[in-house]
Symmetry: C2
Subunit: 137 residues, 2 copies
């Protein structure tokens, strides 16, 4: 598509070297990189959960954010939402097969975290000691 002639003709060859610019990392990160999705998935990994159960299980999440989070997960095919027509209403959320596969990724995350948490904490302490007023956090 008419790359031009400014010398910017060289392809970036960016990223992990197997795909386009960002591999598709952004896709996953935009999924699970938000504040609550992973925590909800983790809870659902235990089994079927109702709305209130989820909210209680994920301390700090607001009704609004829980609704948004499960809706997005549902939209992405990671979670199913089952409405039982009764009063009071009962809605159950459950991981799909794809949702379950995500839990393995989450496992990798927690493993890495557990493994390096101390080292990171120490690195930070040292950095903060070296540059007390850096403004970085």
């Amino acid at each position: 598509m008419s790359v031009g002639h400014t010398g910017v003709t060289t392809e970036p060859v960016v990223s992990c070297g197997d795909e386009h610019e960002d591999c598709g990392i952004r896709e996953v990160l935009d999924r699970i990189g938000d504040k609550w999705s992973v925590l909800v998935v983790v809870e659902l990994a235990q089994g079927v959960r109702r709305f209130r159960q989820l909210q209680r299980a994920v301390p700090g999440i607001s009704q609004r954010m829980l609704t948004l989070t499960v809706r997005r997960l549902e939209r992405d095919g990671l979670v199913t939402r089952t409405v039982h027509p009764m009063v009071p209403p009962q809605v159950e959320y459950e991981l799909t097969a794809m949702g379950h596969s995500l839990t393995y990724l989450v496992k990798a995350l927690t493993d890495w975290s557990a493994e390096h948490r101390d080292a990171i904490a120490q690195a930070r302490q040292e950095w903060d000691a070296a540059y007390p007023d850096s403004g970085i956090r």
Copy 2:
């Protein structure tokens, strides 16, 4: 707390079952969950990079955000920053051992992404078709 008598007395047994409320997932996510860190790490996985190199390799990132990102990575002990006193200035960034270990996690991310990207896209299409005006995105 007075759980009541509605049958919801079962303990949540929250999370991944090995730690407190959020396992520590938040820690990693707060690291790599931001918009640029992972992309920078991916690029640095290729080898030593200078500031401008990084900026060119990560299309769309601003000078400001690149600075912030590498500073944070440095603070966390994931990246080293080496200043070569010369003119024009030359600063090199390189992954630490811990930084390299992160790339394996990133690999898991990209793998999962590649594997489920299509399914997610399809699920979304179907969902959007079913609920055109949901407002969810």
